[in-house]
């Protein structure tokens, strides 16, 4: 604990970078999976294609993807973009299945009712489909959030791992306390993100609380 006190600046700085480098992919993953998931839930052939492609991406172990990113993107070695793009791809892959399930779970009866009442396709999407798919999307987003925060630490092996630096540094110095502090702060960031998502869910999807579905 003394070490933590003496090195608080270092740890907090790393924590801030960790939060930044994981928040962006989570947002990108969410944003991208909405249109992709909606489109895939409508067209079966597209669903199969997208799920296969992103399934392949997701199966690639993270270190492999981190290492080849600069080659694929043509970025500099220490560019943030390498890590952000790789994590975003994983986030989309994780969200896609949930988005497809979410949009698919909206009953066709409800959709037909909405059309009958007079909703155009676009506003039907925003006011009916998206909110109804919300709880499933949120549950998946929480999983994606936690996984992304955890996954980032592997990037310490390419010098961009946020709190993951404490893992490699602690290992090299035979200093397990440093590793533990890294783990604890990573968990803290994951917890904060989760709380934020839950609160956003309550704000935007108040009916799901009453139904008791958002676990």
């Amino acid at each position: 604990m003394v070490w933590l006190w003496n090195n608080l600046g270092l740890v907090l700085g790393l924590a801030a970078e960790h939060a930044r480098l994981s928040a962006i992919p989570i947002l990108v993953g969410f944003a991208a999976s909405i249109p992709l998931g909606w489109v895939a839930s409508r067209f079966a052939w597209l669903r199969g294609l997208l799920l296969t492609v992103f399934g392949i991406v997701f199966t690639i172990p993270s270190l492999a993807l981190f290492v080849v990113m600069p080659l694929l993107l043509g970025t500099r070695i220490l560019d943030d973009l390498n890590v952000i793009v790789a994590l975003s791809l994983y986030a989309i892959a994780m969200m896609l299945r949930g988005a497809i399930d979410g949009f698919g779970s909206v009953s066709p009866d409800v959709l037909q009712s909405a059309t009958a009442v007079g909703f155009a396709a676009a506003s039907r999407f925003w006011t009916v489909q998206l909110p109804l798919a919300g709880p499933v999307l949120l549950a998946n987003l929480r999983v994606v959030s936690v996984s992304t925060v955890s996954l980032l630490s592997v990037a310490a092996l390419i010098g961009k791992g946020g709190l993951g630096y404490l893992f490699t540094n602690g290992y090299q110095r035979a200093f397990p306390e440093e590793i533990v502090i890294g783990i604890v702060f990573t968990l803290l960031i994951a917890a904060v993100f989760d709380i934020v998502l839950v609160l956003l869910g309550r704000l935007l999807l108040p009916w799901s609380r009453r139904a008791g579905r958002a676990a």
Partner: protein, 308 residues
């Protein structure tokens, strides 16, 4: 109470704010500060072990005290990584070791003594778009070490003595050791040590390497000469009479864009006070029970030397 529309807007605003904050901090002007002629911002890298972190702080704090905006990028890795990083502007300065630097950039080099290496460096690094300041008296070289018991058992005093038992031993070192000039190729051609097994332990001669050596999982380890564990465990450093491993003085390596006399003078003011003994004591403090941060270790020393 709140209509759904208000809620949605609030939620979107919250998300937008988060994204904006993330984007703001992402546009860090100090990232890759060397390009565009902005010479007062500088990113200093370190290789990923304690001594390198301390050296980075030593140079960095002096630069910071003299008008530079210093950012640190720790844990860059070995030369194979930081040379490209220096060249593409990911980092601007990194403390390196003269002999390894020379041979890393020029595999045909022949210099081995401090003076010869120092003389050969400036031209070689210039060819790669880099520059060096003066090297410090302090030296931290790769060293092949064995336990005192092993040395006694096989009568080992120099690297050449390993030739006889080469096929039975395992040498432990960082992954890149095997491919270096003083790795497999050099050991075979200079000392005739062939047929040994290599075990990669990526902690720069740190605790994992030490414990494997003491447990006899490896018989020979590459532990750098200013690592406190050598003294603490009475490890025997095998002599290198044929200078397989060249002089390894601490030398600051930086992108040629920063090369000017004032900059070099600031770096030299640190280097000239850094002797091998001083460096060893800095490492000992860092490895002590308190595990002080490299920043603290550097600050204390610089203050004591009157440089801060």
């Amino acid at each position: 109470m709140f209509t759904r529309k208000t809620r949605v807007l609030a939620g979107v605003a919250a998300l937008g704010l988060t994204a904006a904050l993330a984007a703001c901090s992402a546009a860090d002007p100090l990232d890759g500060g060397g390009d565009g002629g902005d010479t007062t911002a500088i990113t200093i890298g370190s290789q990923g072990f304690a001594e390198s972190d301390i050296l980075a702080q030593l140079y960095g704090q002096v630069l910071a005290a003299n008008g530079y905006e210093v950012d640190y990028a720790a844990g860059i890795g070995s030369r194979e990584t930081f040379i490209p990083a220096l060249q593409d502007g990911s980092i601007d300065l990194i403390p390196d070791y003269s002999g390894n630097l020379l041979y890393g950039l020029d595999t045909g080099a022949t210099a081995t003594s401090s003076e010869d290496v120092d003389a050969a460096l400036p031209d070689v690094v210039a060819e790669n778009g880099l520059a060096v300041a003066e090297s410090a008296p302090a030296e931290d070289a790769d060293a092949l070490v064995v336990t005192p018991e092993f040395a006694a058992e096989h009568g080992l005093t120099s690297i050449g003595d390993l030739a006889g038992i080469a096929s039975e031993i395992t040498i432990g070192a960082n992954t890149e050791f095997e491919g270096r000039p003083y790795g497999r190729a050099g050991l075979e051609s200079v000392y005739g040590v062939t047929g040994w097994t290599f075990k990669a332990i990526d902690d720069y001669g740190g605790p994992g390497t030490l414990s494997d050596l003491l447990a006899d999982n490896i018989q020979v380890a590459d532990i750098y000469t200013t690592t406190p564990s050598i003294k603490q465990n009475d490890l025997v450093v095998l002599d290198d009479p044929k200078n397989l491993i060249a002089a390894q003085n601490i030398v600051p390596l930086f992108n040629a864009e920063f090369a000017d006399d004032d900059f070099a003078a600031l770096l030299n003011s640190v280097s000239e006070k850094l002797t091998t003994d001083e460096l060893l004591s800095l490492n000992e403090i860092s490895a002590g029970d308190d595990k002080p941060s490299p920043e603290q270790v550097a600050k204390d020393w610089l203050t004591a030397q009157g440089l801060l």
